[in-house]
């Protein structure tokens, strides 16, 4: 360090010599500084400015495109998920409806069967009642006819005109023997 300063101090003309040798010149130096500033101005205004703006614009567009793509992918995924959920829900509803329809059909069928059975039983009961009534009526008619025939036969056999009391007694007697 000391040596450096000593060398500089010992050679006061070193700078001047270097300046003269290499042609370092105040006005020329300033002129070249101005030229260099001119270069910087030109490049900044006509090259770096517009081109960097374009690069930024393109980068922004690419980023926007990527964001859009991500958004579309997300929407697609959401849509697929929604569709899958809707299909699942529709399946569940369909299964439920089928089950309900099956259960409804079974209940209806059962109800109709019961009704049919009840109707059939009603019809049978009515038929049975009607049959019983007919049998009772026919039995009464038969008994009456039989009594009349017995009375007529008795009257013809005996030649006796039967009174109502006789007829009644003969009928009862005959019916008691036939009825069993």
């Amino acid at each position: 360090m000391t040596t450096f300063f000593a060398v500089v101090a010992d050679q006061p003309g070193a700078f001047q010599t270097t300046k003269d040798t290499f042609g370092l010149n105040g006005p020329f130096f300033i002129a070249q500084v101005i030229n260099f500033f001119l270069v910087m101005f030109v490049l900044k205004k006509f090259a770096f400015g517009p081109i960097q703006e374009m690069l930024v614009q393109r980068r922004t567009r690419i980023q926007e495109g990527e964001e859009k793509l991500k958004r579309i992918e997300k929407q697609l995924a959401d849509s697929e998920a929604n569709t899958a959920a809707a299909i699942a829900r529709a399946n569940e509803d369909a299964v439920r409806l089928i089950t309900e329809a099956k259960e409804g059909a079974a209940a209806f069928s059962e109800q109709k069967s019961q009704e049919a059975i009840a109707n059939a039983q009603g019809i049978l009961a009515k038929a049975e009642a009607a049959g019983n009534a007919d049998r009772e009526r026919i039995s009464i008619e038969l008994k009456r006819e039989f009594g009349r025939l017995v009375a007529a036969t008795t009257s013809q056999v005996t030649g006796k005109v039967l009174t109502d009391e006789d007829q009644s007694r003969i009928n009862e007697d005959a019916l008691s023997k036939v009825g069993n």
Binding site: F29, A31, Q32, V42, M54, L55
Partner: protein, 293 residues
């Protein structure tokens, strides 16, 4: 592969012709490129390198206009190429300095890189540095050579203009990112987690390191200037010397292989200058960048 083979044979042939020329007793007329840029006229304060800088600015303007006249979201042609170039450099710097610093300073680093690149390649156009006047003094003796055009970065004034502009901007960015206190702490404060007696012992050491750091910071623009100037001037000088080694009708040949090397050097030097500036800025703004993250 064919390109490499052709380049190799041309280079080999160039070497043979270069070494054969002195043996043949050829007395080449030497006109070395002067070390400094010269004014084209005593009353006109315009140097030959300034003309090249203006040509470079004009070309950059034309290219930028062509690239950005009808900007489209799907780029083609010039727009596509310029977007590729600018985006590649931006990404490269972003990896180095982080998004905040790059966004803030790209206008400078981009300008430095593309200007140095264009300027270096313009300096390789045949005629630049070789077409001019042989000067004579009042007594009629040869007094040097004045090329009409000279590579922009083969002029120390141009490289110094860029370096010292960067030095001033570096100082501005360092203060705005760290604050004056932060900048001083960054340079002088002990680095590491020292406590107690160790801290007391480290303070003078880091104060001394800070002084060295300030000297290093002060030397940076000088080093940047001379590194770029030396490489570009050296390259042009090499090409001229190689051309002087052979008869004029063969002058193109020995220099031809070195043109390919100079194309590489032109790109590498543009990258080195930009990279060094970016690293210097990153080093001083490290805390600021961490705070932004």
């Amino acid at each position: 592969m064919r390109f490499v083979s052709i380049s190799f044979f041309l280079w080999l042939f160039g070497l043979v012709t270069a070494f054969a020329a002195p043996a043949a007793g050829h007395a080449a007329e030497h006109h070395a490129l002067p070390l400094n840029a010269q004014p084209l006229h005593s009353f006109l304060p315009v140097t030959n390198s300034m003309i090249m800088v203006w040509i470079a600015v004009g070309l950059i303007v034309l290219f930028c206009r062509a690239a950005t006249r009808e900007m489209a979201l799907v780029p083609t042609g010039f727009q596509n190429f310029s977007e590729w170039a600018i985006e590649s450099l931006y990404d490269f710097l972003e990896n180095l300095m982080g998004p905040h610093l790059t966004g803030r300073t790209f206008w400078f680093f981009g300008s430095v890189f593309f200007f140095i690149l264009v300027s270096n390649y313009l300096g390789l156009i045949p005629g630049v540095g070789t077409v001019g006047w042989h000067l004579k003094d009042t007594e009629g003796h040869a007094a040097g050579f004045l090329p009409i055009l000279r590579g922009g970065n083969a002029d120390i004034n141009m490289t110094a203009a860029m370096s010292f502009t960067f030095a001033i901007l570096w100082f501005y960015w360092a203060i705005t990112e760290n604050g004056i206190k932060g900048l001083a702490a960054h340079i002088f404060a002990p680095k590491g987690n020292f406590k107690g007696i160790m801290l007391v012992m480290m303070v003078p050491i880091f104060l001394f390191v800070g002084v060295l750091e300030i000297i290093s910071i002060a030397i940076r623009p000088v080093a940047l200037s001379f590194r770029l100037f030396g490489n570009i001037y050296g390259g042009e000088q090499t090409l001229e010397k190689l051309m002087d080694l052979v008869p004029k009708w063969l002058a193109f040949l020995p220099a031809l292989p070195f043109y390919f090397m100079e194309l590489l050097v032109g790109f590498v030097q543009a990258l080195v200058f930009t990279l060094l500036c970016a690293i210097f800025l990153k080093l001083i703004c490290d805390h600021g960048e961490e705070a932004h993250h």
